[in-house]
Every structure is written in C-alpha cells, then in structure tokens.
Symmetry: C2
Subunit: 141 residues, 2 copies
DNA sequence: TGTATCTTGATGCAGCCGCATCGATCGACA
DNA sequence: TGTCGATCGATGCGGCTGCATCAAGATACA
C-alpha cells in the first residue's frame, strides 16, 4: 500500500466537503420550512414506493444502523407518520406502514428537498457532467 | 423551480451514499487501530502545515461550527495533543499549537486514514476518472 | 421433542451535536 | 474617555448516535 496520489487526496477532500455541504444546505432548507429532519424523508419514500415493510428490510434498503432505525421509527410513530403493527408470520417482527399524514409529509417535504438538490447538484453542473458524476460515484459506492 | 431531473436525483443519492460510506470506512479503520476520531486528523494537519493559529481561523479553514471546534479542542487538549495559550494581541483569543504528541498522533493516524482513502477513491477509479471527479466535485463545492 | 444458535427489534449509557446564550474583550465613534 | 455594537470562545440543555446487551421468537438438529 503506497500513499495515495495527490489527485486522490484532492478528490477525497472534495467528496467529503461537497457531501457535508450538500447535507447542511438540505437540512437547513427543511428546518427553515419547519419540516421534519432529512432522515425521515428516505423512510417515507421507501415505504411509499415499496409499501409496508419490516424494519429489517428498511434497514437493508436504506443502509442504516439497526438501533438508529429503531428509534427513528419510534419518533415517526409518535409524530403519527407511520404505524407499527405486529407481524403475523414472525412473532419477533413488525410491519411498518405509512399513514395518510406520512404521505402528506413526504409531499410537503419534497419542494424544500428538491430546492436543495437543485442548488447543490443541478445548478452548478451541465447535464453531461451530472451523468459523468453519477457514474463515477457509482464506482465508488 | 422545476423538479430536478432523474439523473440529478441519482447523482444526489450517490453523492450522499458514497460520502457516508467513505466516512464510515475511514472511521472504522481508525477505530480498529485504536486511533482518535477522524475529525482530529484535520485539525492536526492544519496546525502542522500552517503552524499555531487561533480557533477562529481554524474554524474558517476547516469549515466547522464554532461550538463544535471549541469542544473538539478541549478534548484534544485533554489528550495532550494540542496546547492552548492566551493570545497576546487579543485578550479574547487563544493560540492553539501542536504538541509533540500531536505531531506523533498525526503520523500514527496517517496509514489507517490513507488505507481508507485508497480503498474508497483510488482503487475503484482510473487516474483520469479521479481527475474528472475532483473537477466536478469542485464545481459543486 | 428438547436444546443450542441465530435473528429481530428495543434500550441503558456515555459521548457528541445543534441551539441559544453568556461573559469578556475589541473596535469605532461621538 | 465613555458607550455601543461586533467578535471571540465557552457552556447548559435537549436530542441524536454508537455501543453493548437484552428478551422474545425462529430455526436447526440431535
């Protein structure tokens, strides 16, 4: 293992920097609009698109820690955005489903979120650059 | 403001995903080696390269929150990696400087950090791709 | 069937973060 | 010089994260 090349270090710094800044602006946009935290959105979308599912599956889809998801769902349940029902086919498990308020929340969050995405990715890059960027980020991930 | 294009959303997801995974592996690598958290490294490097400086300047260089830096420096001071002295030219301010242990720590952290960077950025990409990636990330940040 | 092992989800604890605010000092200006 | 607004850095508080662990149920297998 030799030390990484200079261009690699530059890319690393910018990857972390760009990621952090993108997250910050998205969170700020949501907060400014009085909306729930960013993390909730991914869960709302996943449940909306894939239908009700078990926490374990959500965890795999969203690449999130188990204990983190557990408490995240508890908060969202308290906020009335999801329901948690016992799983009939597995006594340990649960079925998490969106409520109407959950769907409405997903809808309400989108404009603020979209604005942040637009400002971070779409505005500063040409269309073909975005394609290129997505391609290279995929190779990383 | 129209809704972002599909490729934009893809790039967004992958930017956050790649950033999160890169951070996770770097942190894991450091922890596995019994080394301090990732955030400390940037401070050690900044102080090493630019010499002793005031927290306010560190804050601007590293793009970090004020209260966050304040507590970060307190921890590093407790660990003996930096010294904090009153600033002669400004009664409010301080001068933060590296100790020998701080320099040694920076050195000790590098191999683990470099391995994570190599695995995340250098290994999966061709040299010209890394140049391209760094360029586009710069336009974002 | 009975037992050992794995999986699922929750939680106590300590540490870090975000927010608001504070005390101290600085700089500008009448 | 005295006053006022700005800047610097610290900190109390509540919320979130990471870690280790737990209890309950599923699964495998003798």
């Amino acid at each position: 293992m030799t030390t990484p090349a200079a261009i690699t270090l530059l890319a690393w710094d910018r990857l972390l920097g760009a990621g952090a800044r993108a997250l910050r602006t998205a969170r700020a946009e949501l907060k400014r609009a009085g909306l729930p935290p960013l993390e909730w959105y991914d869960i709302l979308v996943a449940l909306d698109r894939r239908g009700a599912m078990r926490p374990r599956d959500l965890q795999r889809v969203l690449d999130i820690e188990q204990y983190n998801l557990s408490r995240l769902l508890a908060r969202m349940q308290r906020a009335g955005l999801v329901t948690v029902a016992p799983c009939l086919s597995d006594g340990r498990g649960q079925i998490v489903a969106l409520t109407e308020a959950g769907v409405a929340c997903r809808t309400a969050m989108w404009p603020a979120y979209a604005a942040a995405i637009h400002g971070s990715i779409e505005a500063p890059l040409e269309p073909d650059e975005r394609i290129h960027l997505a391609g290279m980020l995929q190779k990383i991930a």
